[in-house]
Amino acid sequence: MLRIISQRLLVAIPVLFLVILVTFILIRLAPGGPFDEERAVPPQVLENLNKRYKLDDPLHVQFFDYLGNLLRGDFGPSFKYPSRTVTEVIYAGLPVTLELSCYALLVAMVFGIGAGVIAAMRPNTPQDYVPMSVAMVGICLPSFVLGPLLILAFGIGLEWLPVSGWGESPGDKILPSITLGAGYAAYVARLSRGGMLETLAQDYIRTARAKGLSEWRVVFGHALRGGLGPVVSYAGPAVAGLLSGSFVVESIFQIPGLGRFYLQGAFNRDYTMILGMTILFAFLIIVCNLLADIAQIWLNPRLRKNVSAGGRP
């Protein structure tokens, strides 16, 4: 187990390094410098700016400087707003985005697995069709449609819940979490239905039934652990999707998370901001994939035997 984890870690580190390198080069390739303003900056000022941000060093020196700073948790200054650093922005935005993503993941797992298990218990009956049809609707309603519709219905129409902000008024976290989680809940429902159907057809389930266990114990005590394999392997990509999906949800509900700063950075061409945040997102996603891999191996002992580095089913 430990060997596998360390193997995965050894793969993850070069990947992260590669991401940093590629992002860094891409940003340097971008047309126009970070100090291109509407009116031309005097050459002397430009030179001083370049010196201050060390843009006149050779590229590889800049890169290793940046990398060294990253390891100390320093993402450098923002090019557009010299008064604040990228690190400060990340400190402010990351907890919000992570919290939103966690709630959304919770929504996705609870509703998704629930619906999937219910459907798999009686396949091809209304108990199967109804939750799966709802799941289909969930897949076809993107968050940027669902969010505004929820706002119209529950915020403006019924006036039950607040429609913007995060942690400012009670209940303002409900709509964003549902908006972000719904699509994933739908996928999870389909995956867990498939996984459960396959597991419920296996011999050890027949044995469990033959022992006279209640259906409840068969499903939750025996089948669930095997049936959730597909869901667990989907969890890594799902978290990645949740993190980038939070961009839209944050902009719809005016939530001060990372996504909003990232978009601001994208529109302002704030290169250091984009660079830092891309690396941060890549890091988070690689970590999540790693955790998903480990969880999968823990759930399915058969995977422990022949693990080649990085290979996912």
Partner: protein, 292 residues
């Protein structure tokens, strides 16, 4: 779009008839197909059938709810919304089809080469796919639009470059299963060059999974484009796609809900149609089922 499918249609006839008869028993998939055909036809014919011209404004009218003259209402500039949705569907569907084709070409070639050549080449190629899988792609596309500016071509390439990974995996798996069968051995014995075996003998035999996955890739591409356009990073004005129409509708949804509801409905119906068709095709073409 699927050139291999077209050229090999005659050879695979029995399989296709078989699959089509199964598809015909699936009403939702047929409905999806019908909706899709209608959507594509409307999009293709838009310049001739759109009730108004794309630029036509009527500032005196302003935002008006659906009426006899403007079926789906007008926006604040008095532009006919039906016309705008029709033109938007040209962009959205085009991005969907073109970017999917890019993904299709890369993914199929990658998968066939990795699967057929095997060994170390396979290991390196698939490890590369594994690595790319772990990257935050939506974020990467945003980064690319920042670096290279927002153009339609970039959008095609960027989305296509993201979506080929799963295709490559699926195709590789199929090729691995096929490559030891007699007809491939026969082709090798005949002394055919490798590329010819890959393109003429292997590719047509993995068409089934490719079609299924292509049908399911198109909606996710359309979704990704709408997502970017919604954020203002995809299609730029004066052009508009469903995503940018929805984003525009969200801004004014309290006063003029129809500006949100109709583009959103169009997008969702299209996604529905494609997903149902994809699921139906999977049931009809899945090799594991069709071998029984």
């Amino acid at each position: 779009m699927n050139t291999p499918a077209d050229t090999n249609y005659e050879k695979g006839r029995s399989l296709w008839q078989d699959a089509f008869s199964r598809l015909k028993k699936n009403p939702m998939a047929l409905l999806g197909l019908a909706v899709l055909v209608i959507m594509v036809t409307l999009a293709l014919l838009t310049p001739w059938i759109a009730p108004y011209s794309y630029e036509e404004q009527n500032l005196a009218l302003g935002a008006s709810p659906p009426s006899a003259t403007h079926w789906l209402g007008t926006d604040v500039f008095g532009r006919d919304q039906l016309t705008r949705i029709l033109y938007g569907s040209r962009i959205s569907l085009m991005v969907g089809f073109v970017a999917t084709s890019v993904a299709l070409c890369i993914g199929v070639l990658w998968g066939i080469i990795a699967g057929y050549v095997g060994g170390r080449v396979d290991a390196v190629m698939m490890r590369f796919v594994d690595i790319l899988y772990a990257l935050p792609f939506t974020i990467f596309i945003i980064l690319l639009t920042v670096v290279f500016g927002r153009s339609l071509l970039l959008l095609f390439l960027a989305i296509g470059a993201v979506e080929w990974l799963t295709m490559a995996r699926i195709v590789r798996g199929q090729v691995m299963a096929l490559k030891h069968q007699e007809f491939i051995e026969a082709a090798v014995a005949m002394g055919l060059p490798r590329w010819r075996i890959m393109l003429r003998h292997l590719a047509p035999n993995v068409i089934g999974p490719i079609i299924i996955y292509t049908t399911l890739t198109i909606p996710s591409v359309i979704l990704l484009e709408s997502f970017l356009s919604f954020l203002g990073l995809g299609i730029q004005p004066p052009q508009s796609s469903w995503g940018s129409l929805i984003s525009y509708g969200v801004e004014t949804m309290e006063e003029y809900p129809w500006l949100l509801i109709f583009p959103a409905l169009t997008l969702s119906i299209t996604l529905f149609a494609l997903n149902f068709l994809g699921d139906g095709l999977r049931d009809a073409l899945d090799p594991r089922i069709s071998k029984d």
